[in-house]
């Protein structure tokens, strides 16, 4: 199984980009949870160990021939659904919702795993069902069901952010796989019809977040607080930033959720516009690399896996930064590879491992 070509064709670029972003994320979490002194905060240590675990996950996702994952896709998918069903029963609370299940040493967010499982089964479906004239609504019913099951369970947690990502992942994959544009338009209109229904079933805090996105100044001490403080945090970094560990908004706790959903603002405050440009270059290069992998992939499954990986990174990036800079409402979506949070980090690393897998194995068979 270990071929010399393995090393020769290994995708060092992707690996280095992933590790660089991982490193930035750990610096950010370190700063966001810094309590003075020379010690790492417990949260920073945990993020480090999650990164270690993530690397292990990435290696596993890389080492096994990805075609095995095609076969195993439904097993993962089924397991994920079981976990998701366990959440309402065994799950623990956090942030007003039941999202975690305790696995002894650590707790896991099954909703994060759902991203990988969904990615695998969708890629498998579109790998096998090939329609040169493009997919219509009828062909989309089955993959639609595949996304609806986990997305519905995640939405019920409630976890609007992850459910949105699952939906967007689905859309990106069917778009690249070749859905007919007319069907896409139909889906768009249908989604528009469902939105008011969704609004009615939203929790009050979710509605409040959206309302305060539209009018952040209406309740500057309540829900609008996040948005206002986040913009102040980012803007006050100015061009050169306030310096590592020097962000006052960060250090004096004016920014809530700063090591998770608002890690971007912490980085922007301390490293300034110049630092953010570098961060964007890294993300841009990562996304470009994933698309190139998709382009060059040996088969349709591998290509769609890479596209899915790019989709998860891109949509999370957009939604997270969008809410940090106040152009999107506050929904809990982590910044890929950077935000504190084990499940999300593990998910990202596995996804990147799969992409590495696809990239390296395109010459191997």
């Amino acid at each position: 199984m270990f071929d010399r070509r393995f090393l020769a064709h290994f995708d060092w670029v992707l690996l280095l980009l992933v590790l660089a972003l991982l490193g930035i994320g750990i610096l950010g979490v370190y700063s966001a949870t810094y309590g003075g002194g020379r010690h790492l905060s417990p949260l920073a240590i945990r993020q480090l160990s999650w990164a270690g675990l993530g690397v292990v996950g990435m290696v596993i996702a890389f080492a096994v021939d990805y075609r095995q994952f095609e076969r195993l896709g439904y097993l993962f998918y089924g397991l994920t659904l079981v976990f998701l069903l366990m959440v309402p029963v065994l799950g623990s609370f956090g942030g007003g919702a039941r999202r975690w299940i305790n696995l002894g040493v650590f707790s896991l967010q099954p909703s994060e795993l759902a991203k990988i499982s969904l990615l695998l089964v969708l890629a498998r479906y579109f790998h096998r069902v090939i329609l040169p004239q493009g997919y219509g609504i009828r062909e989309l019913l089955y993959p639609g069901l595949l996304v609806a099951l986990p997305a519905g369970l995640v939405l019920a947690e409630p976890n609007l952010g992850t459910a949105t990502i699952l939906g967007l992942l689905f859309l990106t994959i069917i778009f690249t796989a070749g859905v007919r544009l007319s069907s896409l338009t139909f889906l768009g209109i249908a989604a528009g019809g469902v939105l008011p229904l969704l609004w009615r079933h939203m929790k009050p805090y979710q509605k409040q977040r959206i309302l305060s996105f539209l009018h952040p100044d209406a309740d500057p001490l309540g829900t609008g607080y996040h948005m206002i403080q986040s913009k102040i945090t980012i803007g006050s970094g100015m061009f050169w930033g306030k310096g590592f560990l020097q962000g006052t908004q960060n250090r004096l706790d004016f920014l809530p959720e700063k090591h998770t959903d608002f890690i971007f603002a912490v980085l922007a405050e301390e490293w300034g516009f110049i630092g953010i440009c570098i961060l964007f270059l890294l993300y841009g290069a990562l996304l470009a690399r994933l698309l190139v992998i998709a382009w060059k992939a040996r088969d349709r499954f591998g290509s769609l896996v890479a596209v899915g990986g790019a989709a998860i990174v891109f949509w999370q990036l957009l939604i997270n930064i969008g809410m940090n800079i106040g152009i999107l409402p506050v929904v809990g979506v982590p910044l890929p590879l950077l935000s504190y949070g084990g499940s999300s980090l593990l998910t990202m690393m596995i996804t990147m491992g799969l992409a590495l897998n696809v990239s390296t194995r395109r010459f191997l068979f």
Partner: protein, 618 residues
């Protein structure tokens, strides 16, 4: 067959995705990233300065430390106005779970009413988070102890110390000291350094000397975290206490003078003859400035405003009364200076004088017979002064009255001083639109008609006669003191003008005033002291004409005012005074002279420690 790169390469069925769609996806991602970067440039580049300032605002709080207000002493360094600690109960809404429950628990400890009730405090958009809201001001000691003791049961409620003004009891010198009150929006516009809830001088010395008394507020620049917890002090400016004032007032004399007016309405002004220093300045009835310092209630305010005796009115410098016969002092000097008569010029008084169609009475029904100027002063003969008035004319009268300081404010360091009125032909034309009638001159020369003066002005007249013709500006503040008691500013006597009246003329006037008190038939004999020669002049001013001597039959508002102006010792004057009894319904010699005697008696008790009193009873 499907068109794909792999197919072209002859490999088996990989069927990769549409390259066109992948390109569209790549383009979408690129555009989105550019859009985000653009927005970030807006935030960090274009609006960066503003957000930087906002982030500084976030972490920096300015905590104001109010300055301690200056203390007011009398001339012997006895404290008249002091500061006392006041305890406010403060609530921090962010730290309170159930405001309603907290308030109801609190109401068990407080005897005072809280400033608001209900389940939420009033929303003030300008209040920074974690800033306390005052629940109850200046609570009692018992309430303070109760709140402190039950701290655990009412989280978010604390006690804050502030400083309140403490005025002497019984309205002592209230019109002069004045009072402070919470600053209003008009005052905040004028003095931008004041904040809502600050105290500012509203009346009297407190108002006029606000700048000196207040001092300089200090502040601490504190770094706080998001919960408002102070982390460290970044900068500090100490508050500078206000300057203290040493008044010219003598508290004992003031006390005695107030006591002398106890059951009367009126005013007493006592001046040092050679400096213009005010030794006592009394207006009665008085009020309690402490009501204002603690925040006056509307019912208390209404009862002060609606009191027919108008206790808020400062009769000593605001009250304008016809000076009556005390005016003759100046007229005698004017007559000699203008040489319209000589000291030996005699006129005959038969009880009145026919002038045109009108008969002008003398106060003494049977008349005084023949008298010279000194006797005319001693007996306050109206007919004699009618003659003087005819010879001086209204312009001559006005010139000399103004020379002595009448008709304009004297410029004492209080904002509410009135000017009084010295009428002349020009004034009448301007304000009433008619020509001066020569008959009116006869009213004015005996201090009736249009002429009015404040008790302060009449005291200055007495002082000017006594000191040989120098009009001093009456003043109240001797010096100001810094925080360590060092003198910062010394107020030396200020001369308004030298009257340049011939000393012999003033000597004759003083002799006349001596006789008023000391001759067997003088009108002011009740002002006599056993061991000190007092000189003075009585006055009885009519409120409406034709009522002279009708006494207390008339309704109060029509009764005569009683005047007495005096200086002593007559041969070497030190002190001058004016005493006015409003609507006394009796002559100055009857009512005002005894009051003046009591005050002068006290003055000499204070200044002559070796004074052996010949008798306490008269």
């Amino acid at each position: 067959m499907r068109e794909s790169r792999s197919a072209l390469l002859g490999l088996q069925d990989p069927a990769p995705p549409s390259y066109a769609r992948l390109s569209v996806l790549g383009l979408l991602i690129l555009l989105t990233l550019l859009l985000l970067i653009f927005r970030l440039w807006q935030l960090q580049g274009i609006e960066g300065e503003r957000f930087r300032a906002l982030s500084e605002n976030n972490r920096l709080r300015l905590k104001r430390t109010p300055p301690l207000r200056g203390i007011i002493y009398d001339r012997e360094m006895r404290v008249l106005v002091d500061n006392r600690p006041a305890f406010n109960v403060v609530l921090v809404p962010e730290d309170v779970g159930d405001v309603k429950a907290t308030l109801s628990t609190l109401s068990g400890y407080l005897t005072e009413n809280t400033l608001f009730s209900g389940d939420s405090p009033p929303r003030d958009p300008r209040r920074p988070p974690y800033q306390g809201i005052v629940l109850a001001k200046d609570v009692s000691r018992d309430a303070l102890v109760a709140v402190e003791a039950h701290q655990m049961e009412i989280p978010g409620v604390s006690v804050e110390v502030s400083s309140k003004r403490l005025y002497p009891p019984d309205g002592f010198a209230a019109h002069l000291l004045g009072y402070v009150g919470e600053v209003n929006s008009r005052e905040m516009d004028r003095f931008p350094s004041y904040r809502l809830g600050d105290f500012i001088g509203k009346f009297g010395i407190e108002k006029r000397w606000e700048k000196k008394l207040r001092g300089q507020g200090g502040g601490q620049q504190i770094e706080v975290d998001a919960s408002g917890q102070r982390l460290r002090v970044l900068g500090e400016a100490e508050a500078t206490a206000g300057q203290s004032l040493v008044l010219t007032l003598n508290a004992d004399l003031q006390q005695k003078a107030e006591a002398a007016l106890q059951d009367k309405e009126g005013a007493i002004v006592v001046l040092e003859v050679h400096t213009g220093e005010v030794l006592a300045l009394v207006s009665h009835p008085t009020f309690d400035p402490n009501l204002f310092a603690r925040g006056i209630r509307s019912d208390e305010w209404r009862s002060l405003i609606e009191d027919p005796l108008r206790p808020l009115n400062d009769r000593a410098i605001q009250g304008q009364y016809p000076p009556g016969s005390t005016f003759k002092v100046m007229m005698a000097a004017a007559a000699l200076e203008k040489k319209v008569l000589t000291p030996s010029t005699r006129f005959h008084c038969s009880g009145g004088l026919q002038f045109g169609s009108h008969f002008f009475h003398c106060w003494k029904k049977g008349g005084h017979g023949s008298l010279d100027l000194q006797q005319a002063i001693a007996h306050s003969c109206d007919v004699y002064f009618y003659q003087v008035g005819q010879r001086l004319g209204i312009q001559g009268i006005a010139e000399y009255a103004r020379l002595f300081g009448l008709g304009t404010p004297l410029g004492i360091e209080l904002d509410h001083e009135a000017s009084g009125l010295i009428p002349d032909a020009g004034w009448k034309r301007r304000t009433l639109g008619s020509a001066w009638l020569s008959g009116e001159t006869l009213s004015v020369v005996i201090g009736q008609g249009y002429v009015t003066a404040t008790p302060l002005q009449m005291a200055v007249v007495a002082a000017t006669v006594a000191n040989g013709g120098t009009v001093y500006r009456p003043h109240l503040v001797k010096r100001t003191l810094g925080a360590n008691g060092e003198t910062i500013e010394e107020n030396s006597p200020e001369v308004i003008r030298e009257t340049k009246i011939d000393p012999r003329v003033l000597q004759l006037v003083r002799d006349g005033m001596h006789d008023v008190v000391n001759s067997k038939t003088g009108t002011g004999r009740k002002a006599q002291l056993p061991d000190i020669l007092v000189a003075g002049k009585t006055g009885t001013s009519q409120v409406i004409s034709g009522t002279r001597g009708k006494g207390k039959i008339l309704p109060r508002q029509y009764r005569d005012h009683a005047w007495f102006i005096a200086f002593a010792p007559a041969d070497a004057p030190e002190v001058a005074m004016a005493c006015l009894i409003e609507h006394a319904g009796a002559g100055g010699g009857q009512v005002a002279a005894p009051v003046a005697r009591d005050v002068l008696d006290m003055y000499f008790n204070i200044t002559r420690s070796d004074r052996h009193r010949k008798s306490d009873v008269r």
